[in-house]
Amino acid sequence: MCGIVGLLARTSEFREQLGQMLTPMLVCMGDRGPDSAGLAIFSSAIKPSLRQFSLFASQRGFDWLDLRDRLRRDTGEDADIETLENHAKLTTSVLPGKVRSWLAENFREIHLLAVGRSIELYKDEGHPSDIAARYRFSQLTGTHAVGHTRMATESAVTPAHAHPYTAGEDFCLVHNGSLSNPWSLRRMLEKRGIHFETDNDTEAACRYLEWRMSQGDTLEEALQKAFTELDGFYTLLMATADKMVLVRDAFACKPAIIAETTDYIAVSSEFRSLAHLPGIHQARLFEPVPEEIYSWNV
């Protein structure tokens, strides 16, 4: 069992409250997933020449300023860093491939959680309420966000195994369920040079979809193929820079509920985590049906 939550703001006022509204949703779903949690939040894109990198250090007190200074020195390009607990957001004009290899050479202990012009990602081990407080989720603002509370069933409990998973740029995925063919997907993708970071089944789904998109599919087209390729149980909630997308597998035994108002689209595993949202009793509430793609643009 895991919990998934997502919220897309339809007004500028609601964007300012995104973290404040989403945090109780995530904390409530801590009942479905108490061992780790994560959140990806999207905001207006930064300049095309820049990328922001969400980084995680398992050791508290890691010297992030040293990392920034060494990146500046080694590349001759500018870099800024904002830090919070075990997390940092590095903004730089250094290309993503270069940052990735530079981190692997110089800071093997640093985990790259996400990269893009819009995405910022936090995930860690512990109860979702502790993680939400540690990373001040309620203060976050943005256009849309997806979150996850994990009860591990198939791989270890570590920050790296927490969701959301990312692949490529400005794409993330959270998953409630379990896949039965992640290893065959993984072997197929590894043959194509795609690198995996964990042994988690969700990572296979995430990298499969990103691979399809890198081949020219839209996310919706990639999901149509995923209905055939992914074997197992899943409710998947995904986000890109400009949309939030939800699907359930053919069996639909992992729950989801959608609430739609003029102010927001909210998605959760259970209605009770939406009960605090303004206007929820006037919202259009419905349950997503199997193998239907629900997509909302920012």
């Binding site: 639909a252 259970e270 209605f271 009770r272």
Partner: protein, 227 residues
């Protein structure tokens, strides 16, 4: 009328009151407010009390119900009235999966749609759904009647035993061993009676009957993988 507020009481406190205090004090009618999608509201009741739940409830509402009449002015989550023994549960909105799962008796009415696996393994309950049901509804249903006023999703009545299904709308597909059969006079009476009890106004003439072909009752080793 007595009013219990779940923004002040926990579900455990509410249910303990309903189990232990209510039978003693003879209350016949009460309201539960602010259900806010909480699970297990009013489970395991054993007395003929009328309860109105004002708002959306979570999983297992009115599970194991005996005698009580419970109306929800909203939607419910998974497994409403699961294992109900008697009484009536009415949902004015929609119900999520497994509505009426394994229920032995009583009447479950969902005025909106019920999603997948509605009436799974039902054992004698009657269920009336005002709109559609999702896939695998009445899977392995053993006894009782499922009346669907809208359409039915894929694999309706898969591995059906002696429960009977009546469908007014279209059937996406029938499950293994389920078959459409002609309506007989007593079928029309049954449907009219259940619709009247549910307060839903359709004519039984619009319904078709689905029941078990009973070919799965005895294992046929020669059938190979045909099942």
């Amino acid at each position: 009328m007595e009013r219990l507020d779940l923004s002040h009481l926990s579900v455990r406190e509410l249910n303990q009151y309903l189990h232990h205090e209510l039978p003693k004090n003879g209350v016949e009618e009460l309201e539960i407010v602010n259900p806010n999608g909480l699970h297990s509201i009013a489970v395991g009741l054993t007395v003929p009390v009328r309860i109105r739940v004002l708002g959306h409830a979570g999983y297992y509402l009115a599970g194991m119900n005996q005698q009580a009449e419970i109306t929800v002015q909203g939607n419910v989550g998974w497994s409403v009235a699961e294992n109900m023994m008697s009484g009536m549960v009415k949902v004015k909105g929609f119900a999520s999966e497994c509505a009426g799962a394994s229920a032995h008796g009583g009447l479950l009415v969902v005025e909106g749609s019920a999603s997948s696996r509605c009436g799974i393994s039902m054992k004698g309950v009657d269920i009336v759904v005002g709109e559609d049901v999702g896939h695998m509804s009445a899977f392995m249903a053993q006894a009782g009647k499922l009346v669907i006023c809208g359409n039915a999703g894929a694999s309706l009545g898969d591995s059906l035993y002696e429960a009977v299904i009546y469908v007014r709308g279209a059937i996406h597909s029938l499950g293994a061993d389920a078959r459409e059969e002609p309506m007989a006079e007593n079928d029309y009476c049954t449907v009219d009676e259940l619709l009247a009890k549910a307060g839903i106004n359709y004519s039984s003439k619009e319904f078709k009957r689905v029941a078990s072909a009973r070919t799965l009752y005895h294992w046929n080793a020669e059938a190979g993988q045909e099942y």
